[in-house]
Symmetry: D2
Subunit: 400 residues, 4 copies
């Protein structure tokens, strides 16, 4: 069989249902509420519940979660078009329960959690009954672009562990039911190993969710928060997977989480293009439609090229992951390209809309703010380029 | 004498004083208040008065205004370094009374106003006693990228004129003491002539300042507003300059106003670069300072190149204007390049600062929002490119 | 079944054999001969025959030709990796008989030729016994970026047709056994219909192959020639397909021919990257390997991203064609991106090699010259962008 | 006095005369001869002499050389427009005797040579009676991007020095009357000091001009050659300036030589733009002139912007040098920008000309080849960016 780009029948159906759901249910809610999930948007748990009920009714809820916890069990390739369709509105991922960081945490728990953890943490997370956060990033000089700089510690104490450390930019922390916390159980900051993941309940008195970090983007329900762990006590049963394997599990989460970010933002890129094209088709300028002027056509075409190329890179890397391959290189390539391409698409679309584009009356100025940080989080483009080049050079050296 | 890049002694002195004033007075105020002049920034007339008093005390107030109304009377070339120094803080132009649109209106009135208008409008505007707005832009299909589409009308009535029309994106309208209004006194929408400028007092019952248009940027004191003229009666003495010469005067205002925008935003580009360089010099990553990593160096160098090239284009066009030449081509080139270069500089600087860059804790995410619209207002880059190319082709045809 | 990027077993095997053949047979010939197939390279029919015999022996000859004329009958998707592997050397496509324009002509004849034409023209072309050219492009104001401007005519005469017209940039014309000629049988220059394809033997006295047009590139065996048709008489049996259907058949040839260009040039992009990476891994500069300097890493990574994105767009469009879909939009997107990406890859690779890169001692300066015209032939990027945007806008209008 | 962009009267006059000379004398010669000065162009000493006689007659010869050796003695700022006018044809700099490397060597000798050397080397070089080369660059791992890697040695022997070393990419070596040779008189490869410059006559039996290195570009009369020094004996009077001061003198030559390259290539950029604009104004496409299509206009405008920005950076840096300032940063900025801008201008111009652009019938494919190496020689863009960034960071650290 030659290369086959047709998605599975199940994926195609859920994609179609998601498109209809976004068009008929999500976008009207978006217009009614402002449509920004993050804390500044003022959207509350009510809206989240309403959206998720709608997604359940539409048969598109939790497409990524394992079937035994109520999901559709789609693989990575099959997720791509569904997530893109959901990403067409900033509210879509929240509705389908595939927003970061919960979506990545569902993936991680499905791979690593033991049966008890699966029941206690994965099941309610997959159903939307609770939310979660992933507490890895630390202020400089801690874990950031370089995860090995991890400074938070988990020290063995009577009956378990004591976690201490300061995290920031912890997405979704405010209101999360639990955190997956990365802390050092051996070695010291700079070492490539020695990290362990812990499941910490939000009501643990040693865990404090601090201020929201004010950022350009406002997409993430639960915001980006500072989280402090101080004498935070947990039992051995809080260890996710095996001791000292935290960096390895982070990799398990990493490539898929990168790609699902790409899928969702690709949805926004398409939305931006659709807004701009609609505008260009209607707006008269210098005696013809804007869409018939060459410079506008160049921008529309470049958007289309960027979107197509981004999609191609995403599905390629998904296929590698579905094959059990590491996908480290292909997902780094996809992430770097998509983050920059999405940015270009939104920027061009905004330019096409002129004064309307920079006004708050259009969604585009909002999207410009939302997509910019994607070139930084989940690895800045520069870090990815460094890693991509190193792998290329290593491959060359191995080949000789 | 060969080409001489040295500014005049007076310009050099005022520039130095402005740098000191911005460092010692403006930036501390910026940190105390949030530093965003626009309506969302919540800065009031008190701060404006305090800043302007400071600038007067520092001997840097109104560097562009004619000497007889209390300014320093600097020409375009001499303004460049002063405005750039003031632009280093978003509050700087407000302090020196050289923010848009007042700065351009001072320039326009100094060129066109009759003695009575000079006393009644120019003098208090130059001294900071009042503010103003320039009411030209209209919602589509009115005057926008194509000024000739002007739809607002001024109809002759007993004892003067009646102005009717709808304007939007009128910067600084909220709180302005008067407006310079562009309205059609002959011809119809699409005609290249037939516009007249009128001076309308803000308390004229026929002029209504409507809602603030919510935009990405928040730099402009008085915001971007909708302004409606309905049965707005003015006398013949409200005509600025001569009847039907409005488009010609708009040109008088246009090229200098473009360039002063460039000067001010160049100040922000330098600020962004300074913030990024400070960060890169201090931040350790992968065992060396960020500033020693090649990709960071490339961004720092590209910023420096963009800043230097922008400055070169600005002073060149200023010199042409000071020589009495039209500067239409050189100012369009400078505007297009500066708007895009400033955007690139801020974007790279933000990227260099990583997570800190997209947080509200850094000024960079603010600057990203502030500079984006400059690629659209005062002529979108695409309109300028169209005009630049047409002049090149016309010159070629004339040469044959 | 979800999306599947695995090529068919047959394609995978031929790809592997092609890689080995290029490495073991073609590259040594390349080094012995200069490796430039075009007329300035001085390579003759001997080398072509030797290379093609080698490809036959290796079991990789004519992978695209129908099985009944001796090919492997691979579909578009299956061709992609084979053609890329062959394209790794400028001599590779010649060896496999998949160089332009013969490859596209095989494709066209396989789709449109009648049994007699199939035997007389397709069979010897597929076997390498003869070469061909495709005579469509005309000097301005004839058929160029706009095919409808076709000016050459075929006039009905006793016993057949008389073809008159002037063609240029006719690739491979020198030495070709026959030409597929596009001429107008109805309508006049500018009409969207009325063209017919004719098969004209090279020994027809009415067909004259004129001078070689000296161009930057020298890849094409048989060069780019001027070809004149003057009172060129052919019978009715010379019509390829049906009367007046020439533009439609040109479309049949167009999308696949675009994509196979992309595949071949992608091979050169990979070669360029491999040369640059080898150099960067070995070259010491400022105390470390060039490959460890950030700016070099950025270039290596950008090459890798461009190559991956190009490949993704190619296989996507191939899949559409294999599904019987038009592929007009996806192949235009792929062509535009690949032509520019390949150019960027070669340019960066050359830069990475420094002085060595611009010297004739490296292949890179050769590749720079070879790939540049690809942004122009088979439709300039600007024409493709125009067409891409128009389709997007049309789709938008149809959707409303 | 404010900033003044007007050139001196003398510079303006020589510029005007140069423009007329290039138009009336040089371009006709260009068309008659192919117009490529380099060895592959087959232009001989006859043409060089004829062109230089013409320039003398036109009063534009040696504008940069000191008055006492027959030049016009123009400073850097005053050279800019003259060199740009000469650079409008590839033959222009040869005609005015301001081609690399002689032009830079005149500059260097004027600054450093003692009276005897001035008479023996500078005077005949300035008059065009002889040619010269500058023998610094060595094959890796010698002096290249990093001059400190200098490996050639000059060892003290009875009665003088013995020079040994291998140089390459020595422009103009073939036919040169003498070489300025950089060799190490103390320290070893990697040391930042210890180099001395020697004047070596071409008939010295220890100096051998080897093969021409085949390169993309063919602009340089005398080619790019390998030059070997083996037991090359010279007296103490061969030392240019002082012992061990070679690197310092290289700096004296460096910044001005960079800038004059920029000036000359800017001439080619303007030529390319003029060719493209002429074509775009005449060529009809899809019912209108190419010059009226938006994407073409964008390219024309971007060319104009690039040219203006490049010119601004050049004159700024020239002014600094004329002021006695180092110009290290500003000339690095100018060089980096100009090399890339010129490349973009030629590339866009070629694209605007379509098939004609890549054919040898147009000058553009020639220019594409000629300008590409400028992004590498005189310091690759990456090395300049590294140096620019380091200076910025150092300035920041000093300011604290």
């Amino acid at each position: 069989m030659p290369i086959d780009f047709a998605p599975s029948a199940e994926s195609a159906e859920i994609t179609q249902r998601t498109e209809a759901f976004v068009r008929d249910v999500v976008i009207p809610e978006e217009q009614a509420t402002g449509g920004v999930p993050g804390p500044a948007g003022g959207l509350g748990d009510d809206l989240r519940a309403r959206l998720q009920d709608g997604a359940k009714a539409a048969g598109v809820f939790a497409p990524h979660a394992p079937v035994d916890v109520g999901g559709h069990g789609l693989g990575m390739s099959d997720r791509a078009s569904v997530f893109e369709a959901a990403g067409y509105s900033l509210l879509g991922p929240l509705a389908l329960n595939i927003a970061a960081p919960d979506e990545g945490n569902v993936h991680l728990l499905a791979e690593v959690a033991n049966p008890e953890q699966r029941e206690r943490y994965l099941a309610p997370l997959a159903s939307g009954a609770t939310r979660s956060c992933f507490a890895m990033t630390e202020p400089a000089p801690g874990a950031g672009s370089d995860p090995a700089a991890l400074a938070s510690t988990a020290t063995r104490v009577d009956g378990g562990w004591r976690i201490d450390g300061r995290k920031w930019f912890i997405t979704g922390a405010d209101g999360a039911g639990f955190a997956i916390v990365m802390a050092r159980t051996s070695g010291s900051a700079g070492d490539r190993g020695g990290a362990t993941m812990f499941l910490v309940d939000a009501d643990n008195p040693g865990m404090q969710v601090g201020r929201h970090i004010d950022t350009l983007d406002q997409t993430f329900f639960g915001g980006h928060c500072e989280v402090t762990f101080e004498d935070c006590r947990v039992g051995d049963d809080a260890i996710l997977g095996a001791l000292d394997q935290g960096f390895r599990y982070a990799q398990v989460r990493l490539a898929p989480a990168r790609l699902t970010h790409c899928m969702r933002w690709l949805g926004i890129a398409r939305r931006a293009q659709d807004i701009a094209v609609a505008r260009a088709a209607e707006r008269e300028l210098f005696g013809s439609a804007l869409a018939e002027l060459g410079m506008a056509q160049a921008m529309i075409a470049d958007n289309e090229i960027d979107i197509a190329a981004a999609r191609g890179l995403i599905v390629r890397s998904c296929w590698e992951l579905d094959q059990g391959r590491s996908g480290a290189q292909s997902s780094a390539i996809a992430k770097t390209f998509c983050a920059e391409a999405t940015w270009r698409v939104v920027d061009r679309s905004l330019q096409l809309c002129g004064a309307l584009g920079v006004s708050g009356d259009a969604l585009l100025s909002r999207y410009l703010r939302e997509v910019r940080p994607f070139r930084i989080y989940d690895g800045p483009s520069e870090t990815h380029r460094w890693a991509i080049a190193r792998r290329v050079v290593r491959r060359h050296r191995d080949d000789r």
